[in-house]
């Protein structure tokens, strides 16, 4: 089953924003990393995720290239496959949504 609930090809932007924000806040609370604190950055990245959710049916990282091939794009569903490595190396994931905890 899709890990983030029902697939959402027909979400409105407002619905997608709500879901994307819920998704990242949940991972920020339960995962090993902290969510970006700057509200402007958070708002922009949530909108980027939501845009991809509406366009592609998945909350794809707004910083990564979308191929249109589901078997490839599944690796860039937020939190993406590379985020652990990126955070270990750079202190934050590529888009800056999740950061190394204190």
């Amino acid at each position: 089953m899709w890990p983030f609930g029902r697939r959402a090809d027909k979400l409105s932007m407002e619905q997608a924003i709500e879901r994307a924000e819920r998704l990242v806040r949940k991972y920020g609370q339960t995962g090993p990393y902290r969510l970006v604190e700057d509200p402007v950055v958070l708002r922009n990245l949530v909108r980027g995720l939501a845009r991809n959710w509406v366009r592609h049916g998945l909350p794809l990282c707004p910083c990564k290239k979308v191929t249109g091939k589901r078997e490839v794009d599944k690796w860039i569903v937020c939190p993406c496959r590379e985020h652990h490595e990126e955070i270990a190396r750079d202190g934050s994931c590529c888009c800056g949504l999740f950061h190394k905890g204190d």
């Binding site: 950055v41 290239k65 800056g96």
Partner: protein, 198 residues
Amino acid sequence: MAIEIGQKAPQFELPGVDDKTHSLAQVKGPQGTIVVFSCNHCPYVVMYEERMVKLHRDYAPRGITMVAINANDTEAYPADNLENMKLRAASRGFEFPYLIDESQESARLYGATRTPEVFLLDESGTVVYHGRIDDNAEDAGAVERHDLREALEQLLAGSPIAVPDTTPIGCGIKWRLGGCGSGCATKGCADRKCNSEK
């Protein structure tokens, strides 16, 4: 961590899409300079390119020049190599120098981590603003806070910059293996110098 507000901006001498080498001393404007770390492929840069062009058009006549620097690893991201930078600059109508920082040294010296990430320098080359261009990457028409423009106006008016530091919105700079200099020895990272420093 980005260079602190109030510090002198590091010098650079980098090749550009015009096949000429440009230094900070050459590109700096009489009233100030916008140094923006950028690239070709980052979706956030793409969203901001038109605004960057407009910023240059609006402020160059007022004595503030712009220079864009691409520090991404061009081996891992060929879309960001110099040939593609030339195409990009031509297609988007860049009227400012677009330089490549292949060694990533300038990005490290500035402490830049994202694209686009802006450093605004005053006429003496001191950093007076760092961070984002504005608060809405996706929709230029819905911007509520024009962070860089506000800093530019304050600089030109001789006033202190009210909000000198903001968090940039954009993708991380693509460091070469070990190029970040963190010495983290990330799995798969083959940079010998980096790993040998541990």
